[in-house]
Amino acid sequence: MGRDLRFYALGALAYGIVLELLLVAAIVYWPEFEDNVEAIRDFMPGELKGALDRMTSGGVASYLHAQHFFKGCNTLGTLAAVIFAMGAVAGEAHRGTLEIWIARPVSRRQLLLERWTLGALAVCLPVFATTATVPYLLGTIEVEMQFGPLMLGAVHESLLLLVLYSIAFLWSCLATRIVGIAFGMLLLALLHFVAYLIPVVTHWSLYRLTDIDVFARIGATHSLDWRMCAPMIATSAILLGVSLRVFARRTP
């Protein structure tokens, strides 16, 4: 457990630091962005113009949702989810250490749940930690924002990352080649980002679940949208259940 804890803690710390640096840069850039938004709009292609309009329509809140949740957490979070998940089981098989990992008198169920939980925390905690610094960072440019809706946004964002993490985790339970998982998951993420930008298929994109509008609604209602959250929780739970089943029969 100590070795795992160290790996996931260091990974989460590195990912959290990069996420925070992106957030700081975005907040420091806000006054300049606000002043030059029209000039920026002129340079943008059609669909991105719409995204920019949505980003600016709600002021600093929408801008932050786009910069922190949609851009920062979705990209870095997806990357972190894939890295933490692919190493969980496939990484052991790849290194040849799968046998000694499962040969100890600890049930496979316990081993896998520990790994899944540590990875899930490593994916989600940096989202909460960095989001919690937003009100303080905004204070440096004399802008205020409520803490509660921001944290609800972090919950919503984490649920999507958890789904992506659980997909990669199941793949890790099935596979041996970590490179295949990495490329496969990154291709999947890329396809969904591309789909997000194409109006006729945009509703198929997973990243629609963490669109700027979604966070705007959370900010306006001060509550989570359970029609979106419940399926994400259920999907993660089902994927974890299947992972446990697959891993129980895995041959070292």
């Binding site: 070795r3 040849g96 250490t97 046998e99 000694i100 499962i102 040969a103 008198p105 041959t251």
Partner: protein, 313 residues
């Protein structure tokens, strides 16, 4: 923990009809075992004979397609965690976490064991001369093997299952490892170890189980195998010797079967006493003088070929 309610066998390791296939390959044909209590049992066979598969099934790492097993009184069910609480297992694969030092790795390997195991494992590792403060990535093949061995020998359990524990060790270390195992067996532990070198483990084993192509082909005491070995004499000649005349001479000797292997003959006798054969050999001065005569040593390959009629070791 699921205890076996009815124990028709007093053995510590009991298997009935264990079978496993991987795709179209039969890794283990229906296999029965009754091993222990106590003693060192050698599971011998060439590479790919099913040794590791059988050991992995017994500790719950591989699920059998059919059959049942009871190890240390615990029936094999699910992922075998209950069995692994009552026995230790050292895998044949030597992949370890290189970033950990030896001491930390022992602690990691001993998760789920009683607290005193770690101190005992460190003591065994010290005895074997392992540098526990060094990172495992700096360890040689043999040192990694010894680290796994120390972790498998430390916990107080009734059964130890070790996959090729002497593979890659130099003769001195091998002797140390086998001595530690023999001492452990004298305290009543049942030790099942695998090897594909008969000469590496036979001096410690009380009993030998032979596998070939996934099937158990023999199960006998080490003493009976040694008796069989005493029927084998190897006679080596110079390369320029007249091998045809030697072969003809052997063919005329009663209860002697000779097979030529390059510049030497493997001679199987009808008796454990070689003196008659040696006297007959000495009584034929027209034959070239032997360069070397070996007696009582049997390789696994020879054992399989000569005694069980199985090739391909």
């Amino acid at each position: 923990m699921q205890r076996n309610a009815e124990r028709p066998s007093t053995s510590t390791i009991v298997a009935r009809g264990l079978t496993r296939t991987f795709g179209s390959k039969i890794a283990l044909q229906p296999t029965d075992l009754d091993l222990g209590p106590g003693g060192v049992i050698g599971l011998l066979g060439p590479n790919g004979s099913g040794k590791s598969t059988l050991l992995r099934i017994l500790v719950g790492l591989v699920r059998p397609d059919a059959g049942s097993a009871v190890v240390a009184g615990v029936t094999l069910v699910g992922d075998g965690t209950d069995i692994r609480r009552r026995c230790t297992y050292a895998p044949g694969e030597l992949a370890l976490y290189g970033e950990l030092n030896g001491r930390d790795h022992l602690g990691w390997l001993l998760r789920g064991r009683e607290g005193s195991s770690r101190a005992r494992a460190c003591a065994i590792a010290d005895e074997l001369g392992l540098p526990l403060r060094a990172r495992v990535r700096t360890y040689s093949h043999g040192m990694k093997r010894q680290l796994l061995f120390a972790a498998a020998l430390a916990p107080a359990v009734p059964v130890r299952i070790l996959d090729e524990p002497t593979e890659g060790l130099d003769p001195t270390k091998r002797g140390q490892v086998l001595d530690l195992l023999a001492a452990d067996a004298r305290r009543g532990t049942t030790i099942l170890l695998s090897s594909h070198h008969l000469g590496e483990v036979d001096r410690t084993c009380d009993r030998l189980v032979f596998l070939s192509a996934g099937a158990k082909i023999a199960d006998e005491t080490a003493e009976s195998v040694a008796r069989r070995a005493r029927r084998l004499v190897r006679v080596a000649y110079a390369p320029e010797a007249d091998f045809d005349s030697v072969e003809r001479a052997f063919a005329t000797m009663p209860e002697v079967r000779a097979t030529r292997e390059g510049t030497r003959f493997a001679v199987t006798l009808g008796t454990e006493d070689p003196r008659g054969f040696l006297a007959a050999l000495a009584a034929l001065p027209e034959l070239p003088p032997p360069r070397a005569v070996e007696f009582g040593q049997l390789s696994l390959q020879e054992l399989y070929r000569e005694l069980y009629g199985v090739e391909g070791c």
